[in-house]
Symmetry: C2
């Protein structure tokens, strides 16, 4: 793989496992040319922003935190409304689905990227393990890439290295890059707990990935042994 | 034209001439089934929000004002940065261009529309008189429509009745609907002045439209006779 620097890259860094993996991938491709952005949107698990700061610090990249309070005002969901229960039901979108979240995040990331003269934007969305969220699918990302280019007369490149990976393969990828210890600082738990609850849909998905990869999760959990 | 109500409609109402015309068109097609949304994004001409409220009141539709402060924080432009001069130069985007503005507005409008179970979204963007703003072009709107549908698993319909009209034809359309007096309450001037300055690019475009249509603009202007 050519390491030639074609341009700078911006990584959407939530502080979770997938975006942290994306940051590592981006740094392999664009060493010293990576910046990161995180979103404060009133999420229940705001603790993930501390994770994002910590990981950006370890990686030595600038992190810009963009504040968005609009999204929680106009949608009702369990991530930004604390009186709304986290639940999943077959055939329905989970209550943690924030309508249009990736649409808004990627749009703001692109606007910000253009002001920084950056064309490459990394996001850790994944269709394989997409939890029923439509805005994690490849069709959506490809359509949005076209829309962003038309909106701003700019040639963005939305890069999704995890799109077709299983969670276990993501964990394996991080091990191959010798960055597994970064996972110690990631935050996944929807309940915002540390040690992580081990029971919410996000914890369960994470733990299954490590289990399938045969790799130990460096995170501490309350409810389960991993 | 069939007047059958297929669904409800949401109109992006800035309080300007085009969106006011869109509101009138939407009410012809969906009588009593129209809602409106306006955006407070720190614009220099915030006075347009008063216009939007006044016009929504006259039209008898509910107006939701959505506050967005993110966009002015991450972009630099003459509409939200008061120390930035309004200027236009051949071959460059005008300094009034707010990067990604319609992208963000239409995305939030769609998220809001879905919570209100509305599929039809009217916007007054116009490629004919688009002032060099890429996010007013038809290709952008069609691409965004596809992106929104994929983002939220919903069949939005972005409706752009003014896309191919000249400003003079928009004025004529409003006269044909017998709603010309609504223009008395619209706001167009980028400088936020009332009486309007008559000199900024927005005022000049508006005045030319009325002149070409041979119709008197009901607005008061300081600098010019119309």
């Amino acid at each position: 793989m050519s390491k030639k620097i074609l341009n700078k890259a911006l990584v959407l860094l939530s502080g979770g496992q997938d975006s942290t993996t994306c940051l590592a991938v981006a740094l392999e491709k664009f060493p010293d040319q990576v910046e990161a952005v995180a979103f404060d949107y009133g999420q229940r698990h705001r603790i993930e922003l501390d994770s994002a700061k910590k990981i950006a610090g370890i990686a030595g990249v600038h992190l810009e935190i963009i504040n968005i309070d609009t999204i929680s005002k106009i949608t009702e969901n369990a991530l930004t409304r604390h009186n709304c229960t986290i639940k999943e039901k077959d055939g329905e979108l989970p209550s943690t689905f924030v309508e249009g979240r990736n649409l808004i995040f990627l749009s703001y990331a692109a606007i910000y990227a253009k002001t920084r003269k950056i064309k490459n934007i990394y996001t850790g969305v994944c269709q394989t393990d997409y939890s029923g969220y439509p805005d994690c699918r490849n069709d959506f990302v490809r359509s949005l890439n076209n829309t962003l280019n038309l909106a701003m007369d700019y040639q963005f490149k939305l890069i999704t290295p995890l799109m077709w990976l299983k969670k276990s393969e993501t964990v394996q990828l991080m091990q191959d890059m010798d960055k597994l210890e970064w996972y110690l600082y990631t935050h996944t738990c929807y309940e915002g707990l540390r040690p992580a609850c081990g029971k919410c849909p996000a914890c369960v998905l994470r733990l299954r990935g490590f289990y399938d990869a045969g790799i130990q999760d460096p995170l501490a959990y309350t409810a389960v042994d991993n």
